[in-house]
Symmetry: D2
């Protein structure tokens, strides 16, 4: 299986917690957002430039599984991977791991490419495909 | 199929939007939370009382599909349903519908019952089962 | 002193709380937003229409004092008042009161009127002034 | 004037923005939280340890002035300073500056020290005072 993987740290703050003492279940989406944006930036494809070029990427689907709670002040590693070349859609996979190496959460977010002017779906930009292709690694 | 269903209105505010002009994809979790808490309140089972009785309900899984954007100032109807009697887990289904009757989003959230003292999973409280049972309607 | 006053209920949800068990201090801004938007709606001046007419109201200043914690599931009354006719700026005053009538929080938010096209400050629309004037009550 | 100052970077994400295309005015409180927690960490006084020692620091007051909008994907420098030795209260001052060196926002947050067991106010811990004192610099 070939795939692209990227890691980014995130420290859980008070704003993220709820009265259960854990990160609120709705706030993981923020970590996924940071994970995928930093993953794209790492291959020279900042999302902001994509929007400036007239394409936006609204989220179509999110699935998330809360295995263990993320707690206040922990530094979480957001492990982002892309396992398939994007076409009309791009799927990001996420694993959130705490400082002790414990897997806390897994997620999967599917986004689509939309032309901002026409508001219609388009294919993944060729430049993104090229940059991902050269980053993909073959593990046999 | 028998199930319990409840509806609750929610007005999208500026805090919910992002620069795409839509409700941010991470904020739907708040609507699901409000939907299920109000659904339980409507059958005389406020979540706050459950916590006070020593049981909390952390979220185990969430799946959500963004069909159409929810926009600023729209009043969204949060349609919450329970399709199966809960045991170790309870699954809530959500449909978010705008003022024009358009289905914007579907979601599914699975929660577990946990004893706050022991931090171990427990079965759904008998009182909740009884209240749901009497609310379940048979549609044949 | 003459002023306009409006009240709107808000139920504190889990998303609003933090691990201290209170509403997170950053989330009061959401209540102020809801308070002022509903106050304007009550006099027939929905903020969304203002934006559609080409004027937006960015926030210039916020001051807030946290007197007592707002707790999960409490219904807070957001009491919004305008104490002076707006010109280049409009100042909203807020009092948040819980179900027991206890004052939890006071706030003051100053917004400016900005032309969306030119991005320059403008005066309060005449229509807003007229609607506020007819709502102002004289208490002598 | 003697004071302690610390800087921490923060990248504005989509979750922070609203449909005006700026960071939502309620989200600055998160940056202030991160700023003060990292400032205390930098002098060897992590807030989490303070809570574990039985003292929490609820916010008493916040004042904030929005001078220019913070925009998506900008890296904001959170400049946190303490200008007076804390006693019953501690006051943090904030300046948010963008990559171009433009001052976007100023803030002031006052917190109190509270004993978690008794829920009563206490004085700033001696250890915090000592650590701040040794960090304070005299500029004459």
């Amino acid at each position: 299986m070939s795939f692209f993987q990227h890691e980014h740290p995130y420290r859980v703050c008070y704003a993220d917690t709820d009265q259960m003492g854990y990160m609120y279940y709705g706030n993981y989406a923020r970590l996924y957002e940071i994970g995928r944006v930093e993953a794209l930036r790492s291959i020279g494809f900042p999302y902001k430039k994509l929007e400036e070029s007239g394409i936006m990427m609204p989220v179509y689907e999110m699935k998330t599984r809360y295995l263990k709670p993320a707690r206040y002040d922990e530094v979480i590693t957001i492990r982002t991977s892309i396992r398939q070349a994007p076409a009309a859609r791009i799927v990001f996979h996420f694993e959130l791991v705490n400082e002790g190496g414990i897997l806390l959460n897994t997620g999967e977010v599917t986004l689509v490419f939309v032309n901002i002017q026409t508001n219609r779906p388009v294919l993944a930009p060729a430049e993104l495909l090229a940059k991902l292709q050269s980053s993909f690694t073959v593990n046999e």
